[in-house]
Symmetry: C2
Subunit: 140 residues, 2 copies
DNA sequence: ATGACTGCAAAGACTTTGCATCTTT
DNA sequence: AAAGATGCAAAGTCTTTGCAGTCAT
């Protein structure tokens, strides 16, 4: 028997928050963002709802960055860029490794591939600038 | 000033263990594996050496699977398959998304891309079989 | 002898969970 | 009223770290 799902003001607020930002937030970020308007929100509720959204395909995991899982409300296939320095995440919508790739890997290796993640790592423009500044004006 | 590096029996054993398995081990796995021959090994030492290997390019992170970081002693570019069910990891040596991809993304988005990870997810053959068996012979 | 490496245990960080209470239907 | 959702706090995992002792050079 399927579990019934009920409306909840907090759940709606959490999902809206994820959908309303491009930052690919962590649980803690969502919690801090909602705290002012929902002073009685608990971090456990954020985690429970994130699990709920994952199970219902409303959200996907981007990956663990600096120890924290990050989430994305865009569930259509696309790639990501992660800044090694500040941990910011960008969507790369035009870098879709081709859709037949999963099937190709399945056949080639005898696996049941369901999806893949393509993630790029490096420095975002802001962190690149800061590194260059530090080179030009080194500390004593 | 660079820090001097000294030989250590434990360090060598840890690296050899990673290099000697295809399982893309976690820190805990390495620790359990070495315990019989090195009863005084501590998990902290495994973690410290993993950090050392990462910093020296002897090992790379594969990603977090079921809460644990997994490591790979093969540091040349290649893709991975992760079983969603049992967490096993396979190398996919022939699936190298092309080498110019990092540069293409760098130019297209104005980023300083240094590397990327391409990881496939699904069910390994063993877990696929178990799922089918459960369908055919459902529990009461 | 110097300083790098380790064991041990404590601390840290992130996430999950049990239980009583509140909310939705 | 029934059962899902939440708050709170405790517990659980994985990883890092401080310190004293050990080992390599």
């Amino acid at each position: 028997m399927e579990r019934a799902v009920r409306y909840s003001k907090k759940r709606e607020a959490i999902l809206t928050t994820i959908q309303g930002t491009k930052c690919h937030p962590s649980a803690e970020w969502i919690y801090q963002r909602l705290k002012p308007c929902h002073p009685d929100l608990s971090l456990g509720t954020v985690y429970r709802n994130l699990t709920f959204f994952l199970e219902h395909g409303l959200v996907q995991r981007v990956g663990t960055v600096q120890g924290q899982e990050r989430f994305d409300a865009i569930v259509t296939p696309h790639s990501h860029f992660v800044c090694d320095c500040c941990g910011s995440i960008l969507d790369l919508p035009e870098i879709n490794s081709d859709a037949g790739l999963d099937q190709a890997v399945s056949q080639q290796y005898g696996l049941a591939v369901q999806r893949h993640k393509l993630t790029f790592y490096g420095l975002c423009p802001s962190c690149t600038n800061q590194q260059n500044n530090n080179k030009e004006e080194p500390l004593s």
